[in-house]
């Protein structure tokens, strides 16, 4: 349940709020739906990174990845695919840590 919730919330938030709002969402979702530590982390990681990849590609395909290619060169990356991977990694890291924190906070309040 946790993964699809984070994925969906991040995707929708993408159109409405600054990016870190989805980290708060992942945190909250993990409090409600979290099951265990590594599970929470990977749900957060994949949820945000996949949503980011989808949102990025929605902009980049009609652009024929022209901008992504230029920006990849700005950062001395050979192609836009790698830039997308970096994007996914950074979003995933923030999402994973947020969800993990949510789960750990829930556990801290749970009775034994």
């Amino acid at each position: 349940m946790l993964f699809p919730v984070i994925l969906l919330l991040t995707f929708i938030c993408g159109y409405l709020f600054p990016w870190w709002v989805s980290c708060i969402m992942a945190f909250g979702a993990a409090i409600i739906f979290g099951k265990k530590s590594s599970w929470a982390f990977w749900c957060g990681f994949c949820g945000i990174s996949l949503a980011w990849v989808a949102l990025a590609l929605l902009k980049s395909f009609p652009n024929e990845h022209m901008l992504a290619t230029r920006v990849a060169h700005v950062f001395h990356l050979p192609n836009w695919g790698l830039l997308l991977a970096v994007t996914a990694l950074i979003g995933g890291q923030a999402g994973g840590m947020s969800a993990l924190s949510g789960w750990l906070v829930r556990r801290a309040f749970e009775k034994r």
Binding site: W19, L55, A56, H65, A94
Partner: protein
């Protein structure tokens, strides 16, 4: 334990998010920059164009229709002037907001606000040279004018209408890279753009270096090596043109004076090729019987492009041309009846005055035999991540004391004399946009002359052609009335005789209408022959481009727009024509090795065209530069003192007329060298350098490979520029592509009952690297082609080139 883990995890997460929101050095905040909802991905524009769109803009008074053609050039149809300039501001901001922001920030000395202390020296220089002081005065001038104040306010409101509806995701990518937000646009920003143009085109000075020359060599040598008129010249106003006015009395120079220098400085290389070409050919020489006008202003080429093309239509005006992002009106262009263009005059409108202060408090200075009060202007420079710097600038009646002391100068510009006040035309009240406003609406020669009256700086050669078969050119601007050579050297600021003595009356600025030869032209060379009664400057750009243009135009009959295009991309070297025979004459071939002989052989067969594939151009180019440097460096290159090198024209004259001159002798060697020795030394050095850099003589020696050329990003961001490409031309050829400088807009206009314009910019209309219109015109420009410009007569006129219609209303 659980609690501890949770707290640790939360702290780490918050820290991570904070780090991703924070700028480290030059790296943008990664989370902010990479996230797809507000980061750079949002700047990726779709290839699909929305064919029709309606938009509400509250500030409008009526309805405005905008048609975009296949290069996304907007064609604006407004019901009144207010809406016309409002929409010009709105659309320009939409396409070029960051360019507008960074250029005006740079001019205003506010770069440190966004990039931190590393921009402090440049900011300080801009503040201290009086950019703000000048912009404030220009704004005053504009606001006094009932028409132009409305224009500038409408433009500004239009820009703000765009900025106000902008959300972070929509910020241009450079704002995201540098992590800052657009701010409200102010009318003074347009004035700052004028100051920036003045700085680029008329902000340099060689008075310090010339004064050092005078100090070292004395008056006689200085007079000999730095004559007031070149050997080779082909002036803008044809030689022999009669002056039909009674000149004002010419002011008298004060008793001889030689400024003393307080500081020592280092050399800075002068770039050849910051210039421009324009010409107009009378109907008697064209195929159609109507005039053709051509203009290609040369500037430091950038992406986003310097110019933004636009057609602007409202009752009383229908004009097409290029606009400066951030400024109202079309700057270079045409309408149904007339066309006009500009090149730089190189007038001496910037002078340095040595200031004598009463004491260390620097509250009073000596002028006109008494002590006068020094004004103080406080400049606060905000610095990102640091406390602001408060700087006090001293002003005499001449202007600001740019560098107070040696310490300040060490970190700053090499050509600014310490403790001197700057008198600069760009400090004065002015209303330049008025000239363009009137030219946009001009119908004939009389309108052109009227429009020129309002222009102050930077002085430009305004060229003109009309459907009435008039052609004309006027080196124009507010030109100070001076004694001969006033301002060639640093002046004594205490003597009123050194002040500017008013102005050359604007109607007495050099001008010519319909000259006998059937054409007018300019390429930054001397404005006139030596009979013009007033002093404009002792030195202009070399005559080579002007000479080539005049030779070609003189020979031309039945000219077409395409003949003009071919001339704009002409790369024949007049310099090689003038000097190479002499250089070859004095070169002793018996002393050369096989490689050098092969190079000499190529050079002898060279046709003197500097095309991208020319090997001769590479050899000659390197040889000449080395010869020039070897000739002067032993006497004019000093570690701690900036000396001005004699001009290339003077060097040519020396080689042709005085091959045994003492200047060819290298003072650091015991033997006495002549021109022949310097030619040999420079030739072998040039060939050896080519071999070292490009290998043995062959394809790699082609000019296009030897000369690096790139259209760089305006903020120098790697990856957002064009990358290096092969190109022909050099600084002294008509097609003047060198060191990133070149034709920033090529325009050819065929006047007549049905005016036809052609033009191209080396880039595109959009300032967004994520747009297909960022550099879509670059290839056509590189190929030396022009595009026929779409000049619509009404909003309802059909054309299959129109790709999008935008309707704006209240």
């Amino acid at each position: 334990m659980k609690v501890f883990k949770a707290i640790l995890s939360v702290i780490f997460t918050v820290a991570l998010i904070w780090a991703l929101q924070t700028k480290f050095g030059d790296i943008p905040p990664l989370g902010e920059f990479l996230n797809p909802s507000t980061g750079f991905w949002q700047n990726a524009e779709s290839k699909n164009i929305i064919p029709t769109e309606n938009l509400k803009l509250k500030g409008l008074q009526g309805k405005v229709t905008v048609k975009f053609d296949e290069n996304m050039v907007p064609h604006i149809f407004a019901e009144n002037d207010h809406d016309l300039y409002y929409v010009q501001g709105y659309l320009t901001a939409k396409a070029r907001l960051w360019e507008m922001d960074i250029q005006t920030r740079s001019a205003a000395g506010r770069l440190s606000e966004i990039v931190g202390a590393k921009a402090l020296d440049i900011d300080r220089y801009h503040r201290r040279m009086g950019m703000t002081y000048g912009a404030e005065h220009t704004l005053q001038g504009i606001m006094k004018d009932p028409v132009m104040s409305k224009v500038i306010n409408a433009y500004s409101d239009g820009v703000n209408a765009y900025i106000k509806q902008l959300k972070p995701g929509g910020y241009p990518i450079e704002f995201k890279l540098l992590a800052y937000a657009p701010e409200e646009w102010k009318p003074i920003n347009s004035a700052y753009l004028l100051k920036l143009m003045s700085e680029t085109l008329a902000g340099g000075s060689n008075e310090l270096a010339m004064t050092n020359v005078l100090d070292k060599f004395g008056a006689q040598v200085t007079k000999d090596l730095f004559p007031d008129y070149p050997m080779h010249e082909d002036p803008i106003i044809p030689a022999g043109t009669k002056w039909d006015f009674k000149p004002l009395p010419i002011p008298q120079p004060p008793a001889a004076f030689k400024a003393q220098m307080l500081a020592s400085m280092r050399d800075k290389e002068k770039i050849e090729g910051i210039g421009s070409n324009n010409w107009a050919v009378s109907g008697s020489k064209t195929a159609s019987g109507y005039p053709i006008l051509a203009n290609d202003p040369h500037l430091n080429l950038t992406l986003p492009s310097i110019w933004y093309q636009m057609q602007m239509t409202a009752p009383g005006v229908n004009v097409y041309g290029v606009t400066l992002p951030g400024a109202p009106c079309v700057v270079i262009g045409y309408n149904k009846k007339v066309s006009w263009g500009v090149t730089n005059v190189d007038a001496d409108i910037l002078d340095w005055y040595q200031v004598k202060f009463k004491d260390a408090s620097r509250t009073q200075y000596w002028y006109n035999n008494k002590w006068n009060k020094v004004d103080r202007k406080i400049e606060t420079i905000k610095i990102r991540g640091e406390k602001p710097l408060i700087d006090t600038v001293l002003y005499t009646h001449h202007g600001p004391v740019v560098y107070n002391n040696v310490d300040m100068a060490k970190k700053g510009r090499v050509n600014v004399p310490v403790g001197n006040a700057l008198r600069w035309i760009a400090h004065d009240e002015s209303d330049e946009f008025k000239t363009f406003y009137l030219l946009n609406r001009a119908k004939n020669y009389a309108d052109y002359r009227e429009a020129l009256k309002y222009y102050t700086a930077p002085a430009q050669n305004f060229i003109f052609a009309s459907a009435d078969n008039d052609i004309a050119i006027t080196p124009n601007g507010k030109l100070p009335l001076k004694y001969k050579d006033q301002g060639k050297f640093i002046m004594d600021g205490g003597d009123p005789a050194n002040d500017w003595h008013g102005w050359i009356p604007s109607e007495q600025n050099p001008t010519v209408k319909n000259p006998q030869r059937g054409f007018v032209s300019s390429a930054n060379q001397s404005s006139t022959d030596q009979t013009y009664p007033y002093y404009i400057n002792w030195k202009f750009e070399g005559y080579e481009r002007g000479k080539r243009i005049n030779d070609r135009l003189g020979a031309m009959t039945k000219a077409t727009a395409d003949s003009m295009r071919v001339l704009q991309t002409d790369d024949y070297s007049i310099r090689a024509q003038d000097i190479m025979p002499t250089m070859l004459k004095y070169l002793d071939a018996s002393k050369l090795d096989d490689n050098q002989l092969a190079a000499l052989d190529t050079l002898k067969k060279w046709d003197k065209f500097c095309g991208a594939k020319s090997v001769g151009a590479s050899i000659f180019g390197k040889w000449w530069v080395k010869f020039y440097t070897f000739t002067w460096r032993d006497s004019f290159e000093e570690k701690d003192r900036l000396l001005y090198f004699p001009t290339m024209d003077r060097t040519e004259a020396l080689l042709i007329k005085e091959p045994n001159s003492k200047w060819f002798d290298n003072v650091t060697t015991p033997v006495t060298e002549t021109a022949s020795d310097v030619l040999m030394g420079s030739f072998t050095a040039a060939v050896n350098e080519l071999i070292k850099e490009q290998g043995n003589i062959g394809e790699a020696w082609q000019w296009g490979h030897v000369k690096p050329f790139e259209v760089k990003h305006l903020g120098n961001v790697p990856g957002l520029g064009s990358g290096n490409f092969v190109s022909g031309g050099t600084g002294s050829t008509v097609n003047a592509l060198i060191d990133g400088h070149g034709p920033s807009w090529r325009m050819v206009v065929q006047l007549g009952p049905q005016v036809k314009g052609y033009g191209i910019i080396p880039g595109g209309q959009s300032g967004n690297p994520g747009s297909f219109y960022y550099d879509d015109m670059l290839k056509t420009w590189q190929a030396g082609q022009l595009k026929e410009l779409l000049f619509l007569q009404s909003a309802t006129q059909n054309s299959n080139r129109i790709k999008r219609t935008l309707t704006l209303s209240k």
